[in-house]
Point group: D2
Chain length 491, copies 4
């Protein structure tokens, strides 16, 4: 899969961030951090801040650079704030879902940035609607915000958060602002990433550590599954509240394979190293000797480099070369009215460099196959320009089922591996050979047991209760307990 911006790729929903600083406005650090998270969402960008007296908000459509003017940035005052970049899921392209979601209610203001996807949104929304809540969007973030705001009318902050955790089910990494207090919250199974960093004058919460790097900060640690982190006022440290303990995590392995930046460190692993290691294991599991190893740019590059390195370590003489030129300007608005044109889209994106490919055997390395259209046309392009053999190696297992955890991959009908086995797919894309990486190789490279990963898209069994789908957990919904009872206890 070549790029999340194209029709053929999966799309990640969001990037979140939050900061608390001493004596500095939060806006600019949030703005830089959102730039570093831009790959996680290009539809809208927003910042909500608080200066101790009132809340400020600016949300704009498009890239971070388009969503904010200098004046907009100067208008969001105060030393605490949260930010968000958004990639829409199907059916909610409109601006009413742009985040952070902010609401002014009777006991103050609330801001929320959400990455992930709830699986019981409709249920919670219905309960809230029944007691009079009006919703302006169909997003799950507004549901979380209303539930939390409602709880805050009756309880203190930590109990209110815990009570909300008890009602919502699904994947979520949240940065939250209640008046001028900034918090981070990760769902009990830690599906989506969230980490804590120390920056000049304070602390930051962010989806990926690359957002900390860009501020010359240091990664402190990941937020733990089920943990609430409250940043101290004026950038003074942070407090941790482990609100829920789940037996197993359900980390998304696809963050490593595709979504996250190679230079981010997630739950202990540098993404770039993971990809190179997956490339090495790909060689070990399914080596093929060809004249040249070609990455599909840019997503396959780290895999291909690990693959070629492992081959050379095995004494195989293979050239690692950029044989596919990527046109970086093929954006979302490309007009492709006919099937002919749809096929041309790959031609517009990727052009083989004939001197590298002609009259040679080639191995093409990509991170994943979703619909198969890109792969199939890629093979044809390479054959057209004179490749003698075309072998495909994929750095992930076949994607057989949709994602309900916040990634807009494709419907089951669109997934080529949902119905077809590897042999049939090889035939469909007309490759001389095709191999995927095994699930065990994934777990091995990450050093995690299969039980601690969310493997829904490659097994069809999910770590959450999803209507109409199987689960791979005994108790998929972690018990938050009777929040009220516990809240009167000693959490």
């Amino acid at each position: 899969m070549s790029d999340g911006r194209y029709a053929d790729g999966p799309t990640e929903k969001c990037g979140v961030v939050g900061v608390s600083l001493a004596d500095r406005d939060a806006a600019r650090p949030l703005y830089y951090a959102l730039y570093a998270l831009q790959h996680r969402g290009q539809e809208s960008a927003g910042i909500v801040t608080h200066d101790g007296f009132q809340q400020y908000s600016h949300v704009g459509m498009g890239l971070v650079g388009d969503a904010f003017t200098e004046e907009d940035l100067e208008g969001v005052n105060g030393s605490t704030g949260i930010g968000h970049v958004r990639y829409p899921t199907a059916g909610s392209l409109d601006s009413s879902c742009a985040q952070p979601f902010s609401v002014s209610f009777k006991s103050g203001s609330l801001g929320l940035s959400h990455n992930g996807n709830l699986v019981n949104t409709d249920e919670v929304r219905a309960e809230l609607a029944a007691v009079g809540h009006a919703f302006t969007s169909d997003g799950d973030t507004e549901v979380i915000a209303h539930d939390l705001a409602r709880n805050l009318l009756q309880e203190d902050l930590i109990r209110a958060v815990k009570r909300t955790m008890g009602r919502i089910h699904g994947s979520y990494s949240l940065t939250i602002m209640h008046d001028d207090t900034v918090m981070g919250l990760r769902d009990p199974q830690g599906n989506r990433p969230l980490c804590i960093g120390e920056i000049d004058g304070g602390y930051i919460l962010a989806s990926e550590s690359a957002a900390i790097d860009v501020l010359d900060g240091d990664l402190v640690r990941d937020v733990r599954p089920g943990e609430l982190v409250i940043l101290g006022p004026d950038g003074a440290g942070f407090d941790s509240y482990q609100l829920v303990d789940a037996e197993h995590t359900a980390h998304c392995f696809f963050e490593y394979v595709y979504f996250a930046r190679p230079d981010s460190r997630i739950d202990g692993d540098l993404v770039y190293d993971v990809r190179r290691e997956l490339g090495r294991r790909l060689w070990e599991e399914s080596p093929v000797e060809t004249d040249v190893v070609l990455p599909v740019p840019d997503s396959g590059r780290a895999f291909a480099s690990g693959y070629a390195e492992a081959a050379k370590a095995d004494g195989v003489d293979v050239e690692f070369a950029e044989g596919l030129m990527k046109n970086r300007y093929v954006g979302r608005t490309f007009i492709m009215p006919t099937q002919d044109a749809r096929e041309r889209a790959v031609r517009l994106k990727l052009n083989p460099i004939s001197d590298v490919v002609t009259d040679r055997t080639v191995t093409v390395i990509d991170d994943s196959i979703v619909r198969g259209t890109t792969s199939s046309q890629l093979v044809r392009l390479l054959r057209d320009v004179g490749a003698e053999e075309v072998h495909m190696r994929i750095g992930a297992p076949p994607i057989v089922a949709p994602c309900y955890m916040g990634i807009d991959m494709a419907t089951r009908e669109e997934l080529i591996a949902a119905d077809e086995d590897v042999g049939a797919i090889r035939e469909a894309i007309d490759a001389d050979s095709l191999s995927y990486l095994s699930i065990d190789a994934i777990a091995g490279a990450l050093g995690e047991s299969r039980a601690d990963l969310c493997l829904g898209c490659v097994t069809g069994e999910y770590p959450y209760d999803i209507e109409g789908e199987a689960t791979d957990r005994e108790v998929s919904r972690p018990q938050v307990g009777d929040a009220r009872a516990e809240a009167t206890g000693d959490d």
Copy 2:
């Protein structure tokens, strides 16, 4: 003066409205009411509502019809709300001043719609800035909102409002929403209009009674100078709190002469009747017998009709005719780069109908003269088309000084009557004769003593303390008392 939308006319700052209803959304009635107040401001329009849980807001640029889509209207929920249409004063054309101004602060939310102009904004802003308030605009509404929000952190609603009244000085008619409570507040001298109406399912506060008519409602009464009116929840009546009593009012007579709709009833008088009566008195004070009486459309029409009626009642045979055709499409964006073109502007706005004017003596009736350019070109136009004599009669006294109370008339340098007497003006505009109405005729037609009117623009003496200007009051600033002391007492 022909129209507030043209360069030559004065401009009124705003229209405000507020409603509380039983079992109905406030948005649509507010929207209709703003339509009826559109003449008071065409730059932006906005509505802020509350549904008991949270605040909703939509503010858009341009006319009411452009500022709101159907979807926007459906997005502002709840049965209480306030609205605003705005006309900018010089130097604050940007959207950051669009209203209602809303702010989310620690003890809830606040919304404000303001018509009028404070004269001590800088002083109050400086005090608030000194204790840490950040301002996003240079408007006085934000200053009132911050002061009130600050007071609300410490005191109950009514005391907080009274304390704010003690700090701000100038003209103001406000509709205010604290969480879901809607209030109306008029400055101690009642400079700008504000009235209360009963409509289907509740109550309304509005700048003019025409906004009540459009909702098929009934005018209850005007809000009294210095009075705070709090609309009951669910449209259940209203409570009155007379927070300040000033000895004299300072009603703006220009509302009657020019700004208000003819079909509005302000402080007891129907504007249309006032204008006809002013026309009659104009004939009594300075009759001139000509073949035809021509109104300058549309502002002079009611005056001209009263004038012609009085003439006929005196047995004078005069035709009342529309001899000036107005082009209704000459908007603000007209390009007038050269002096030649600037003069052509009047030609574009007004075209004489030759059959009415040629070879006849004419009396032209207008409501006021500001810079004199329009009048001067009008006389020339009429002479060009063959008028034998051109007499001008003006339904107000000469404007000799600027307005500081919320009307962007012109600077003193631009006012033709600031330096010139009536004879010199007549010469400048080349009319055969020119007469203005007297101040006493204004007071007489309104049935008010001069001491109860704001006559600043026609006398140069103001009912407020304005730096560098004279006052016509012994104690221009009504004593609100020591707000804190009194607040702990029994007001």
Copy 3:
């Protein structure tokens, strides 16, 4: 009918203009002239000029003032040019129909501004398409342009125009520019107006004489039906070519009743005088004595003034007063989702002034009734405010059929008078009495025989061949002759 901008009113398609000047750029005079014609079209405005070497064009959406910036005006060079303001007919709201239409073809460039409507567009378009012409819009102007350009490849200018006249059938007043030559052309029956004026440094063609007034010019005469007028280069006079002679004209009487500016003089008559005369005849044909005569502003004002004048001349004591206040800001974008709101629209547009109406008998004067909704609600409004009797008098005959000549009145189904007689309409609108003006009164006031007027909308018989409709002409389509044959002769 109160205003062409509202849902209930008919809408005129366009205004056209053309100038040729000595030593001056044409752009600014065209711009001012378009301002004066703005009432004929508010959707788009455009100017096409030529400087002897190349053609320049600027077309923008919206009002003239919005469509052009100072820079735009400076970019259209040259001393000859044409202009256009456009009102869309149903189904062609998009910008591709904005005019002037300009085309660059092998023997030069062509620009066209069109007011009117062809009735055989489809036929001509099909013929041109058959020989390879591609059309970018569904407008009839492009069809005329292509036909003329095609003819120009083979013939000289005058013969080419004549040949095109032989092919197109319907109403048209055109200003045309071939390279730097400006022409005016009026259809053989002169349905739409077009006149010639002399201005400083040259000559002008315009839909209405008010466009000449605004440039301080003098009306020379109307372009004759079937005449081609070619403006001389450098503003040097004009030449006339009577290309077709029709036995009868088919002037649109509705221009006088509603569309044209009161201050325009069309085919010899000042529109304002015509309306006053129609008002007088209305009194003569159907007098009713009431306390007050109220015009529906602004369209009914001249009628009402003539009506009241005639009444007084008959010794009847009636007051002529403005009893309906018009809200000038109710634009096209007003949101009216429900029937309730649709009725409220009239309330938003028109508010009765109670002191004028309450407890009195009133006669309301309007220019026409289309759907009847406005009239019906108007009567209700007046009764609500306490009118004792409400009589309606209409300054035109009942509209019983649609217009095919360039006015978007309504479909036959929507016209209240298509099926109902006057008694039924009176009942439907709940007036105490209702009278329309007779067709003979129209002809009389205009001093024209019925045979020289287009009366299609009030008789259902048209002066053009319209599929499915009756004609009131023996030979409705004037014979242009065999254009080719004649072109080789001596015209």
Copy 4:
């Protein structure tokens, strides 16, 4: 230099294309071809076509995908056309310079797409203005168009083009359309690229061969310096007219180093191969043994791969790794108000991957150094993350002078190498060592003599007459001869 889209990089002015097809619309192939040339200009995109009868044009701002809707594409009819993507030079950001430039003049229509820069524009414009031409932009394309149009009024096509070539001096690759005839023209020294391809149903002219690839076409050959190529109607072949013969070419070597796509073949060489070869020669000229070789993405990748390959061929054990992660979303609108933020810009664009860099010696390979800011911050970044040594190797000679041939590199004052020698630059950027490639290596890799290259930016001596600059040619301005005399001869 990392990317032409950032402040620090040079910028190429344009990409041009032209097609003639049988029985197919030209619009879609032009659109795809512009996509393939998008890297040559992102400010605007346009297409001009002709269907044998009339000219069609659509030009939009932004990327190709933003500039055209499906409807826009369908509106440009005909089987011949030209296209353009544009990158503005300083001071001409406005839309009036967007291309293709089209003009409708008395003997038909003309369209021009221009890549390059004239050095005598002012002179030619002044001559044309003197005879009455008005210009709407300050661009040189309009000047060429007017001169050619003027010549076409008097002469046949080929002579007119030759006469225009005799007047204009500078670099140009043009695609031209006169009515429906498409032509390509390259300046006598062939400074900018232009090639001919055969595609399905016809022929194409394009700045780079990648535009032919995207249409599945075949590169025929480059257009020769001084050659006019006229595409036959209906896609039927092409004719060549060698209008001028210059002794030497002046190919821009920077096209190979930076601008052109790696997969394009220009004047006989595949750009990717040239870059790899330059990388190999860089190792040969200035080898340094380090733990790892890092490309600056994406511009340095091919160089680094050739460099590492040559090192390994010499038996040196060096890792080739992606150690700098590029954020692909840092666009032009990034807000960088302070110096602090300006430095942060590099941090936002490039993030070192610590596992690759920490505690290691690194060689960073880039294609060029313009201002030096990026390099200097890059070295700091790598040192911050723990690199032991940082060596820089640059795949081009030092840039010591500005480009006048169509590349907006920088002013002489901004160029770090204009005043500083390599030692001083090394010190300024704080690298452990720094080496550039020699001019001879460039010439060697391209297989061309220095006399056939434009080396202005690395020598300060130009192949064109530029006021205030030295030339490296004996006769820099090729003699076109007396165009009229020759035109009457036998060319």
